[in-house]
Amino acid sequence: MNQLHRRNLVSGILAERDDNLLVVAGLGSSCWDVTNAGDRPENFYVWGAMGGATMIGFGVAKAQPDKRVLVITGDGDMLMGMGSFATIANDPVTNLAVLVLDNSAYGETGGQPTHTTGATDLAGIAKASGIATTATIIKDSELAQLKELTLQAPGPVVVVAKIIHEPLKFVLPSNNGPYLKDRFRVSIMGEAIA
């Protein structure tokens, strides 16, 4: 049984962030978790684009090699974009980490089981796709390792955290795409870019 609480994990990691960290949050609960940990211009919230969060983060990471880019997304989003692992592994960047919050459920649509309930191992798929560093985290005692992998370890990194499927209050960020895009770009490159 999954034991980890998603809000504790995400808040624990992001409590140690600095201005150099850019965060891309995948659709649904991952967006609420990242917002709950503190909204900031360096966060980009993906309100749709299912299957795309990891590639968005990859694009940012290639464009901003001096920044650390952390994608935080769910197992449903990652299952829809598994080809991203192969694409990234074959054009690797050292500044990208992907944290998959895996509750084995489609949380926004009624909690239907995803394939990670059964036979499918997302970290294993990432590893077999050629991602240099992969791990699955199952216990709170591994939080220090999780922080190191997501914030420090040379990328590309894919970490899967086995979290509890639990009802939580929605903490909603803005869903205004042009605003989220512009403030993210300005936070990196300054007002002249707007």
Binding site: G59, V60, A63, S84, K181
Partner: protein, 177 residues
């Protein structure tokens, strides 16, 4: 290529570089072969191969978020794969530049290419993509320049459609010999 033939891929490569493009995403197509090779040989261009075309749409959205201009090279069958992905550049007003080689039209031998090739322009327009269709080789590079300006300065999603007439068509009977 004969000596007198227009080297339009070289012109397109130069145009893309002039317009500031440094990230090229692609799912290969025969019609893009020489352009892909030119990008591969250019140390100032990053060429990334996708497993499927929607990855490129998302990657280029990320590139723009990080301040890099990019282009997606795909063929018309790939248009079917990117439809939902286009919602992101559409709703966020993120520039998108695509060069699409057309199949399923002028002289196509493979019926399986026809539905998506014929449906691609209407599908793209339904998602808000502006189209520049090109039927003559000498018009390709100017169309790419205009599309890059409309995309990056006008903050639009723009596709240059390279018609099968300009690319030539595979001769099925020759290939089977």
């Amino acid at each position: 290529m004969s000596e007198n033939a227009l080297d339009w891929p070289a012109d397109v490569h130069r145009t893309l570089r002039d317009e500031g493009v440094t990230q090229v995403c692609q799912v290969p197509d025969a019609g893009h072969k020489r352009l892909i090779e030119l990008c591969q040989a250019d140390n100032d261009v990053s060429l990334t191969t996708m497993t499927t075309e929607e990855e490129g749409i998302y990657m280029l959205a990320g590139s723009w978020l990080g301040g890099t201009k990019g282009v997606m090279l795909l063929q018309s069958s790939g248009v079917g794969n990117i439809i939902n992905a286009l919602a992101m550049p559409n709703t966020c007003r993120i520039p998108l530049l695509m060069l699409i080689t057309m199949r399923g039209e002028y002289g196509e031998f493979n019926s399986w290419q026809v539905p998506m090739g014929q449906g691609a322009p209407a599908s793209l327009e339904a998602m808000g993509v502006r189209l520049h269709r090109v039927d003559e080789p000498e018009d390709i590079a100017p169309a790419v320049k205009a599309a890059a300006r409309l995309a990056f300065d006008g903050q639009q999603m723009v596709a240059v459609l390279l018609s099968q007439k300009v690319l030539g068509f595979k001769d099925f009977r020759e290939l089977a010999k």
